[in-house]
Subunit: 316 residues, 4 copies
Amino acid sequence: MARKLRIIRQKSRDDSGFGSNASGRFINKDGFSNVQRKGVNIFNRFSWYHTMLNLPSFRFISYLILGYVAINLVFALIYYLIGVEHLTGIDQSTPLNEFIDVFFFSSQTFTTVGYGRIAPVGFLASLVATFEAFLGLLAFAIATGLFYGRFSRPRAFLVFSKNALIAPYQDVTALMFRLAPFKNNALTDGEVILTAAIEINENGVPKSNFYRLNVELAKINSLSLNWTIVHKIDEDSPFFGFTKEDFQDPETDIEIMVQIRAFDEVFANTVVQKTSYINSEIIYGAKFIKMYESSDDHKTTILDLSKIDAYEKVNI
Amino acid sequence: MARKLRIIRQKSRDDSGFGSNASGRFINKDGFSNVQRKGVNIFNRFSWYHTMLNLPSFRFISYLILGYVAINLVFALIYYLIGVEHLTGIDQSTPLNEFIDVFFFSSQTFTTVGYGRIAPVGFLASLVATFEAFLGLLAFAIATGLFYGRFSRPRAFLVFSKNALIAPYQDVTALMFRLAPFKNNALTDGEVILTAAIEINENGVPKSNFYRLNVELAKINSLSLNWTIVHKIDEDSPFFGFTKEDFQDPETDIEIMVQIRAFDEVFANTVVQKTSYINSEIIYGAKFIKMYESSDDHKTTILDLSKIDAYEKVNI
Amino acid sequence: MARKLRIIRQKSRDDSGFGSNASGRFINKDGFSNVQRKGVNIFNRFSWYHTMLNLPSFRFISYLILGYVAINLVFALIYYLIGVEHLTGIDQSTPLNEFIDVFFFSSQTFTTVGYGRIAPVGFLASLVATFEAFLGLLAFAIATGLFYGRFSRPRAFLVFSKNALIAPYQDVTALMFRLAPFKNNALTDGEVILTAAIEINENGVPKSNFYRLNVELAKINSLSLNWTIVHKIDEDSPFFGFTKEDFQDPETDIEIMVQIRAFDEVFANTVVQKTSYINSEIIYGAKFIKMYESSDDHKTTILDLSKIDAYEKVNI
Amino acid sequence: MARKLRIIRQKSRDDSGFGSNASGRFINKDGFSNVQRKGVNIFNRFSWYHTMLNLPSFRFISYLILGYVAINLVFALIYYLIGVEHLTGIDQSTPLNEFIDVFFFSSQTFTTVGYGRIAPVGFLASLVATFEAFLGLLAFAIATGLFYGRFSRPRAFLVFSKNALIAPYQDVTALMFRLAPFKNNALTDGEVILTAAIEINENGVPKSNFYRLNVELAKINSLSLNWTIVHKIDEDSPFFGFTKEDFQDPETDIEIMVQIRAFDEVFANTVVQKTSYINSEIIYGAKFIKMYESSDDHKTTILDLSKIDAYEKVNI
C-alpha cells in the first residue's frame, strides 16, 4: 500500500479541518466528528440545547417525565417539612397519606391546575407554592421551546447505502454510493462534497492525507429519487492505480467523507447531512441494483427504499 | 414527434433528480414530486411535522379538537374505572351523569383550568390527574410549536397562470407563463430555473430526457407586479423546430418544470415554490393579456390577480 | 427634461420587477412596494401573520385585549342563555350581577385560572366551559407564536437620511445618501443595490425606464458607523449631464430605489431593508455633515444619530 | 513607526465599516463594535430582544424573578386598595396578613394556578383579576419566546487564543492565532475574514487605515479540531518589514479584526463570531504548542481546549 500511496500525484489538502496527526475514523457513520474534547468543564463542553435536540424521542420524553416527578418530590418534601397544617384539605390519617397529599398538591401547583381541594394557608407554604407555580410555568415555557426546537430542526432525512462500491465505469472504474430522501420532505439544489482521508506510514509515523474527490454529478436539481454519487477513478483521483488489495489492506485507513447539502422547501432552510465510508465498507467489484421503477399504470414513479443497499457482484 | 426529438441538438442533462426511466408527471401542479416511496415503515416515511405544516387550516383545527375529545374520553374512562368515589363533587344520580362528570373533570384537568368543584381525593385518581395535567401541558406545548411552525413557515404565496403559452416573440416564438405574488408579503431577488422533460420512445422503451431552458429574464430584483417567464424557442432550445402538432401529440410527454426562488423580507428567508406545465396545459398561439394598470390618479399601480390566466389567441 | 432623457445612453433594464407602464412611486418610504392588488378575496389577499408581524406594538397589544374582551362577552352571553342555575356561586341578586358573574366565570375559564368559586354543574355549561378552556389554550398558543414571531423577526434597524444629496465628488458630481444602524444589533457584510426609475413621456404616454446605479462602495464589511452610499454621476450614470433643473422638473418622476442587505449576527440571519428617494427628496448642491467623532478620551467612537439628516449647502 | 507606515504599499480600504477618524479599539474582545450611539431615545436605541438574548443566563433568570415579584406586589397593592372584603378567604387578623394573602392571591391569579381558597367576589376585584390572569398568560407567552430565542439562537461557540503570535513561517514570518469549537455543535464550511486597522499620525492628526489580510487557509471544510489562522507577512502584507519594535510601539494602534463564519449543522444556520487582537495581545517570536493528539488506542482524536493559549518562545 505504502508503495501505492507514494505515487499519489494529488497534493494533500489542508482544509479538511482534520490534522495529519489525527487518528481513528474522522467522521462517524452518523455524521458527527470523531473528536473528544478535554480541558473544558462540563458546563461549557455541552450545549444542553444541542444535546436535547439530538436525543431520541423516547429518551427525551423520559427525561421530561423524570424531571417532573423529581421536582414534585422535592417540593413535596419542602411542604412536608413546612408542615401539613399550612395546607387545607390534607388527609392526615398517616404520615404516608400526608406525604401523598402534599405530593399531589405540589403537582397541582406545578402544572397550575390548582383544584383548590388542597390549598396553602400559611405564609411559608403559600410562598413556596407561589414560587413553584412560577417555576412550573417557566419549565413549560422551556419545554415548549424544546419541542418546537426538536421538530422544527431542519434535517435532510437522507438514507445512505451501507456500502460504497467500486465498479467499472466508462473506460475506467468508479467509486459509488447512493442516498435517497426517505420522508415526505422536499429537497432541491442538492450538492455533495467528497473528501478522502488516506493514512500512510511515513517512517513509522502514521500521517493522514486529505484529497478532494471529483464527482460526476456534484449538483442535482431536485432530490426526488435516489442519487448515486459517482467518483470516477481516473488520473485526477488519488485512488488511480489502486488494486483490490490496496482498498482492502487492513493496515491502511481509507475514509471517504461525505457531506450532502440541500435546500428543504418546507423548512425553507439549507440542510446538511454527513456520513463516511471506511475500508471495510468499500466493496470492490459490485454495482447497485436499480431502486426505482415506473408504477404499473405509468402515472408515477415508485422508489423502493428497502433496496438502498442492494448490489450485485461485477468483474473488474 | 419521434422524428423531431431525434433532431434535438441539446444534450440531455442528468441533474434533474429524475431518472430517464421514471414515468408520469414529475412535478405535480402543487409543486410536490410525483414519487411514491415504499420499503420504509410508516413511522419513518412521514415526517409528521412536515405533514402537520402542510395540512389545510380546517383539517389541522379539526385534528386538534378530535384529539382533545379523544384524550378526554380515554381519561374519563380511566377515572370511571378507578371509581367515582375517588373524586369529590360527582353527580352520582345515574351512571351516565357520573361519566359526564368524570369527562368534564378530565377536561378541567387536561386544560389545567381545575375549578375544584370536582377534585381527586384518592391516591389512584390523584395520580392519574397528576399525569393528565402534565400531559395537557405537554400537548399544548406541542400545539404552540405547531401553530408557530404553521404560520411562520416561509412560503412564497405565488399564483401561477394555469397555462403556458406559445406566442411569437422577437423573430421567433417563445414559451411563456406568468406568476404573481398574491399576498402582502414582500419578495426580492426572484430567480427561476426552468427544466423541460421530454419523453421519447427509444425502440419501444419510453425514456425521459431533461433539458435546462434558457429564460429571457431569469432574475428579477423585486417581485411586486406579475412576472412573465419567457423561454425563447431559438436554436438553443430543445423545442426548436417544434410545430403545433409536436406540442399537442398525445403520445409524447412534455413537462415544463418550474422552480421559483426568492427572498421574503418579512420572514427574512429564502422561499421556493415549484409547479409544472404538461402538454395539455401548453397553448399554442396565444399571448397574455396585461394584468396591471395605473390607478386613475396615477399614484399607484393596480395588479388584477383575477386576470392571471387571461390570454388571447394570436397567429404564429 | 425629455431632451435630456433622450440622451441617456444606458439601456433600460427589465429586471426591476416594475413595469414600464406602472405609475406612482414604486417603493414607499417605508420600503413596501406601492402596488394595490385586486381580484383576490380578502382571505387570500392578506397573510394575517405578515400583517400581525408588521403592526405597531401598541396596536398589536390593543387587538389582543379587544379580542380577549370580545371572546369573554360572547361566552358570557352563551352561559347566560344556558342559565345561571347551571353555574355554582353566581350572585343572582340582579340580572346585571348575573351577567357580570358569568363574564368573570368566562374569563376564569378562558385563562384557565379556574378559581372554582363559580363552577359549572350542568351538562351544557360544563360542555361550553370545556370548549372555552380548550379555545383559551389554543389562543394563547397562537399569541405565544405571534409574540415570538414579532420579536424574533430579523430586521435591519437602519435609519436613512431623509434626503439624497448631489454634491461635487472627485472631478464630477455624485448622488449620495446615508444610513446607520440605530440599535444594538450587529450587522456585517452589508451590500446595497441602487436602481433608478425615470419616467419619460413618449408621444404623450408616460413610460418608466429603470437603470442600475453604480455605487462607489457597494459592499461593506461591518455596519458599525454610518454608511454613505455614493453614486458617481459619470458617463456610466443615467444622470450624466443632468442639471439642477432636470432633477427638480416637477413633470418628471425620478425615483432612487434602495435595497440594503446585511447579516445580523444576533439573529444569525440575512436582513433586508428598502427605501426610496423621489425628486422632492433630492437636494442639488449639498453635502452631509460628519455624524461620528472620537470620544474625548479617544477610547471609543460616538455616532450621533440625530445628525443623520444634517447637511450643508455647497456650490456645484 | 510612522516611517514604517509611510512605506506600506497596500492601499487602505474603505469597506471596513469604520471611518479613518474613528478611534479606540474598533472590535471589542467579545466581538461587538466599540461604538457609542447618541441622538436616539432609549426606546429606539436598544432592541430589548437583542439585549435579552445577550444577557448571561443568571441575570436573565434574575430579571424574570424580579419582574414576577414586582408585578405581584403591584397587583397586591391594587387588590388591597380595592378592599379585602372583595376577596373570599382572606386572613383578616392583621393588615400585614391581609396584604400577604392578597399578594398570594395575586400570584395565584398571575400564574393561573387559581386554587380558589381566595377568590374575587366583587366587580372591581374580579375585573382586576381578569386582567391579571390575561397579563400572566401574555407574560408567559413572552417568556416562552425569550427562552426559545435564547437557546435556539445560533452561535458558533468558538474559543480564540488570547494572543496572536508572530513566528517564522516558510521563508518569512507570519502572524497567527487559533480558535476551536468548544461545544458539541458541528460546524462546517468555516471561513475567515481578517482585517488590520493601523492608526498613523498624519501631521499630528491620528488617521486609521484598513487593510485586508491574506490568510493561508481562509476556508476550511469542517471545524472539528482547532483551526490556526496564518497570515503570511510577505510583500502583500501591510506588515511587511515591521520589526518587533514596530509591533510593540505604544504610540501606534494596531488591531487585527477577525470575523469567522461557519455553518452549524444542528441549527442548520450560518453563524458568525468576531474578535480582535491589539498591540498588547500580539506576541513577537512565539509559536503555538499542539493542542490535539491521538487517543492511546488510536481510535479517536483528543482536543485539549485548555491548551488553546499555550505557546513557546521562538527566535525570529
